[in-house]
């Protein structure tokens, strides 16, 4: 949704450059989300969100299939010290007429909505933006723009600095709202191609996102080099991907250990898990890809990953073990099912 994405989708304008000075990423969004059901918050604790680099994706902590709406309270601030580093007066002759525009949209359901507030003392406060669950599907993306309320003196042929011109924008925030019913990525897809020679040691193949643009993850039989990315993520430097990498190493190590050892007493927990792990089935004897894409699996893991950023290594390990156990129980029960019937 950033300006260049609009243009990138249209090949005619790939080379077009921004026609005037813009404070790239000089807006920041901070705030909190509350998930509502029957107009009452589900959790007392709000989910904090921020557009700071590397933490732009937020999970709904396992509530992604029970909420009816999201209420967002957001503060958008313009800072001279981040992003492109322009002063507001460098971007426009009329800083007093700058408005903050919050845009949120849901790609899959084609929903788009905007809210506008004046920029006062460098910030704008948006209270109670309500996102109706019925309008959105898959992830909700929120981005802030700084636009002009009136024409500015420095006008040019490109229409720059006229009313509505974007003079700065923020990174976008992505709220991961995938639900159990997400049929784009839910359930298991069994891909029938053989493993390629490079991947012949792989035991499981996970598509962690259900979106083809996201990295595929090979879950390797040798757990010394457990995880490999098939496709390099867009920004391999980002903390998110490093964390994901580390997290998966922990989980997969644990799963392998548990699977090899066999999990005693798994049965009593399987019922609890069934709701989350719809359509689990493991068949690996024929050396085919097994493609797990349960939406809840990755939501929970993402939620944990986000929390993990603030944790010490011991807590990280504990989270990893917990998730690893959940995985291995599912895999074990599915294997039994496959063997027995």
């Amino acid at each position: 949704m950033q300006w260049n994405e609009f243009i990138q989708t249209d090949h005619t304008y790939t080379d077009q450059e921004w026609p005037y000075r813009v404070g790239i990423n000089q807006l920041s969004i901070k705030g909190e989300l509350k998930l509502l059901r029957n107009n009452m918050p589900i959790n007392q604790e709000p989910i904090e969100v921020s557009s700071a680099p590397g933490q732009a994706r937020f999970s709904l902590n396992g509530n992604s299939d029970v909420f009816e709406s999201i209420r967002m309270n957001l503060v958008v601030a313009f800072s001279e010290d981040i992003g492109a580093g322009y002063q507001l007066s460098e971007l426009t002759d009329r800083p007093d007429t700058a408005d903050v525009l919050i845009v949120y949209y849901s790609k899959a359901a084609r929903y788009y909505n905007t809210f506008r507030k004046p920029l006062i003392s460098g910030q704008a406060v948006f209270e109670k933006i309500l996102v109706d669950r019925n309008e959105v599907f898959e992830n909700v993306v929120v981005q802030a723009f700084l636009v002009l309320r009136e024409d500015s003196g420095r006008e040019s042929d490109t229409g720059a600095l006229k009313k509505g011109s974007v003079i700065s924008f923020s990174r976008d925030i992505e709220i991961l709202t995938d639900a159990k019913h997400n049929l784009f990525s839910g359930g298991i897809n069994q891909v029938t191609e053989e493993f390629s020679p490079q991947e012949k040691n792989a035991l499981y193949k996970l598509d962690f996102d259900g979106e083809t643009s996201e990295p595929y993850i090979i879950w390797n039989k040798k757990y010394e080099d457990v995880i490999r990315f098939l496709k390099q993520p867009k920004s391999s430097e980002s903390a998110y991907y490093k964390l994901q990498h580390m997290m998966l190493s922990i989980i997969s190590h644990e799963i392998m250990m548990q699977t090899l050892a066999g999990v005693a007493g798994a049965e009593e927990n399987i019922e609890d898990l069934e709701d989350d792990f719809v359509e689990m089935k493991i068949l690996n004897s024929s050396r085919k890809y097994i493609h797990l894409t349960s939406a809840n699996i990755h939501n929970d893991i993402r939620g944990t990953m986000l929390q993990l950023e603030k944790c010490d290594s011991l807590t990280r390990m504990q989270h990893g073990l917990k998730l690893g156990q959940a995985f291995s129980q599912c895999i074990n029960s599915s294997m039994e099912e496959a063997v027995n019937g």
Partner: protein
């Protein structure tokens, strides 16, 4: 608005060809009634549903739809392009009054189920040999025979007009259909309404492939630089007209 549950078959969109291989009689064009798809016969498939309330009655929906649209069939029993507009309005109105929301409609498998189990004959009548299989399935949801109709109506519905579907029923060039279903601009309602109204009001010069392509591209680029929906209605209109003049 009554709320209903919309049934689908879980996990099917990725692997329909395991159950309906491309050489199956199901795809036989000469005789669309020859083999119907019954998900219940396949123990590997599991049915699910989205929404609340009673089960949505697909059978009645199909029959009423064909009563409405089937009468436009030509002598070869084919439905031509122009029937899309009425079909879109019918499908949107009917499903909306039964509780269809954008969130439900964004599911591939809802549409896949509808096409394979109930709307086979319609898809055959509308799309014929060339695109039949593609339009039945949801490898590309935007082009699915039914999903595209719903989405077009959803994105062209002008809630503020006395007839909310005046844009949906207008015989736009198919390029507008493609822009509506394929680009994100159509999700931005104020701009999209103005752009469509311009094309409609200047149909003689504007309702053709060439103009639409250039015009809508420019609108999209402009919106990246200037957030058009911050403008008042008449300013937005002026801006759209000035873009059109550039084309």
């Amino acid at each position: 608005m009554a709320s209903h549950q919309f049934k689908y078959v879980n996990g099917f969109s990725h692997q329909w060809s395991l159950f309906l291989p491309p050489d199956s009689d199901f795809w036989d064009l000469e005789n669309p009634d020859a083999e119907l798809f019954n998900p219940g016969e396949h123990s590997d498939l599991r049915e699910g549903s989205m929404g609340d309330g009673e089960d949505f009655d697909y059978e009645t929906f199909y029959n009423e739809f064909m009563d409405e649209i089937g009468q436009h069939a030509d002598s070869n029993n084919r439905l031509l392009e122009y029937t899309d507009n009425d079909a879109a309005v019918f499908i949107y109105k009917y499903l909306e009054s039964n509780g269809m929301t954008a969130r439900i409609a964004a599911n591939k498998e809802i549409w896949l189920y509808m096409c394979l189990v109930h709307f086979k004959k319609y898809v055959w009548m509308r799309w014929g040999a060339g695109n039949y299989q593609d339009r039945m399935t949801v490898n590309n949801l935007r082009r699915n025979a039914l999903a595209r109709l719903w989405r077009f109506a959803y994105l062209t519905r002008d809630a503020e007009a006395s007839d909310p579907y005046h844009l949906t029923v207008f015989p736009f060039n198919q390029e507008v259909w493609n822009f509506t279903t394929d680009t994100i601009l159509s999700g931005n309602r104020p701009i999209w309404m103005e752009a469509l109204k311009y094309i409609k009001n200047n149909a003689e010069t504007a309702n053709n492939n060439n103009f639409i392509r250039k015009f809508l591209r420019l609108v999209r680029v402009k919106n990246a630089v200037v957030k058009l929906n911050t403008l008042e209605q008449d300013e937005l209109n002026d801006r759209i007209v000035s873009i059109a003049v550039q084309v």
